[in-house]
Subunit: 197 residues, 2 copies
């Protein structure tokens, strides 16, 4: 199906350009004109693939989430089925932090969506909250597995939210320039020491 | 000095209007026109008190920080000089979270400054990072006091950053609508249980 592949490649080119524009200037900067200029294509071609700015923004958000998913999948395959809960949780935490340029850009895109959400633009809160909820569920499962105690699932969920909240706050510190990447890793290890002693 | 008081009152009226506009629409929405309309005064009067938008934005940020400072001071006076380190740290954490409408607005203003900072607008990263650094220092001191061990100040600072990171992440969850105020308090208590067992 060569035509379908072409379509997907073209959509990917456009959302990649949108990611670059959003990471630099936020959602307001991501007009069809700016994204077309970044991608080196025409505005009409973007309109052909994405009818509205909202469509383009949602597809861009989905592309970032999908890339995180692919990276996690590769890492979990490398870890193998016997991986300890703490290793799995640490893999999530490290994978989410802006520790290289790609994840820095991805986190800037998420931050731009969060900021736009607070001022009532483009995407709904429910759509924004999807990835954290999935993360909390998965980390809760790992904590229950580690502790071997179904009765403690309320506690495990609380700790999972604490871990995700910690990752979120540390990420914000790195993006704002108040926390180095090395310090972020140190903080994650400390957080896991505290929650999984 | 009645004239000086009038000046301060007028500056306060203007920054209060700016806070309302920023909390709703972000920094981009806070034009002199929009702030003047919110305050019910003329654009020229705003120009008289604040020469540039950057001046108005920095004064508005300072006003929010000052209000947090006043609330903390009142709470620490109420706690008294014998307050335990955990009580003091918990007072900071509860005071920072968006648990009422005023702090919700204040946190939305901070979030708007953070977002603008990421896209290179208005205020520098150094100016944004001031309050967290002060918080980390103060919480570190309380943790050292609690643990009675000067040799552990590196560990105490790490834990202080973890607490501030946790507060930041939980705040982001509340603002985005993924975490209730009640859950935020539960998470803070859990975090303090973990860091100050």
């Amino acid at each position: 199906m060569p035509r379908l592949v072409d379509h997907e490649q073209r959509r990917r080119e456009i959302t990649s350009a949108a990611r670059t524009v959003i990471a630099t200037g936020g959602l307001d900067a991501a007009t069809f004109q700016a994204v077309a200029a970044e991608a080196g294509i025409s505005v009409r071609l973007i309109q052909y693939y994405f009818g509205t700015k909202r469509d383009l923004m949602l597809a861009t958000h989905t592309a970032v989430v999908a890339d995180f998913g692919l990276r996690f999948t590769a890492q979990f395959v490398a870890l193998g089925p016997e991986a300890a809960p703490r290793e799995i949780i640490r893999t999530f935490a490290e994978g989410l932090l802006p520790l290289d340029d790609q994840r820095q850009q991805d986190n800037l895109v998420f931050a731009a969506f969060h900021a736009a959400n607070l001022t009532g633009n483009t995407v709904s809160s429910e759509e924004m909250m999807g990835p954290p909820r999935y993360l909390i569920t998965t980390i809760t499962e790992q904590l229950v597995r580690e502790r071997g105690d179904e009765s403690g699932s309320h506690t495990a969920e609380l700790d999972a939210e604490l871990i995700v909240g910690g990752i979120t706050g540390i990420t914000q510190g790195v993006l704002a320039g108040g926390c180095t990447r090395e310090r972020a890793v140190e903080l994650i290890d400390r957080l896991l020491d505290r929650v999984l002693p």
